[in-house]
Symmetry: C2
Subunit: 224 residues, 2 copies
């Protein structure tokens, strides 16, 4: 047992269960019994369930945000003054995510699902935690997006970023289920990397959709 792998066992079990079931739907007793540790260990090592949730995110997000900053550094250095393109920016992000050292084969998709849940489940404490801990790489990404789409108005860009976020979080958050369905229906195997490779062009195309298309059709009973 070395010094105490209890902490890591709790984090592993919590990460997996949170991703499967959500935060409120996962009890400490589920976590501790899956981790094969005593119930009190969570409160002893982390203080509270909320603090455990934060720790699960921090374990992934802290090294990831460092990796991401490096990727952005490389990208901006390579572009040498010119703002990186939208495709380059999106790829820098997904490459950073995919290249993260992973504890097991489902590492990335588990964490994508957690991020999706963090946005969806109205856990106020989590949003606050994420915003104040990782605001720097986030706003840097936003700045790159802005420079890559100068033709968009601020409002258009704002909404399209939300659309991108939604497509990504939602897809990745249920990527396991979606992969299974595809496997059963069409007999096709898919990796997270391949999903990302399909997602990025979709996002880029949507982000750069022609403004002329923004006009809704004639407002009759149905489409024009």
């Amino acid at each position: 047992m070395a010094q105490s792998d209890t902490v890591d066992r709790i984090l592993d079990a919590a990460e997996e269960l949170f991703a499967e079931r959500g935060f409120s739907e996962t009890s400490l007793r589920m976590i501790t019994s899956k981790a094969k540790v005593n119930l009190a260990a969570v409160n002893y090592h982390f203080g509270s369930k909320n603090a455990l949730i934060h720790a699960v995110f921090a374990r992934f997000l802290t090294p990831f945000s460092a990796t991401l900053e490096d990727a952005f550094d490389d990208l901006e250095a390579k572009c040498d003054g010119e703002p990186p393109t939208l495709n380059q920016t999106l790829w820098a992000l997904t490459e950073s995510a995919v290249r993260m050292p992973q504890r097991n084969e489902k590492g990335i998709s588990i964490f994508m699902r957690l991020l999706g849940l963090a946005y969806t489940q109205s856990q106020g404490h989590l949003r606050k935690f994420l915003e104040q801990e990782y605001s720097q790489p986030f706003s840097r990404f936003m700045r790159l997006l802005k420079e890559a789409t100068p033709q968009l108005s601020a409002v258009d860009r704002y909404w399209r970023i939300q659309f991108m976020l939604g497509a990504t979080a939602f897809t990745m958050s249920s990527s396991d289920a979606l992969r299974d369905i595809l496997q059963n229906k069409l007999g096709v195997e898919t990796t997270v990397q391949e999903i990302a490779a399909r997602l990025v062009p979709f996002l880029a195309a949507g982000m750069q959709a022609d403004d002329a298309m923004l006009v809704p059709p004639a407002h009759k009973t149905s489409v024009a």
Copy 2:
């Protein structure tokens, strides 16, 4: 009190609270106290909390799926043999949603958020309920999408539909919060209809992204 508006008061309160806080995070006591009815009324009229959740969805979804079928009928009649375009299909969907008779001004966005939650929160019973109750309009929509994008392979189309679903569910599920942020940061008011008007072109563009873009960049440490 007529015959019994208790049922409706419960449904109204439940709908709003579920949308605000999620299903597990909303207790029957919150619902009944907001609805100003007795706690036991929920179990008396609906049988269980899960059945109440189903009833909330059915109250909106049943008339909506009828409206949607009509819209698809109109669309296919108008196109007269030719398959409707992607834009037409997406607009038929959003128009149907927007035109639904609403109990209050936030009707649509509340319900969009509920649909998003239904997909996100792993409430097995809800997914099962929705799938078996509303499979018909869903598969019809899928067929229209297929006919509108014949150039896509089945696998490409499958994933891009997931991306669309994600962008829509995610955006709508947090549309209140997103509207508030936009209001504060840029001082812009937005309606659900306007969000839809921005979303549809984004989805259509992403759906029809050039296949050539599907190739990832050179697999070096960063982007090519």
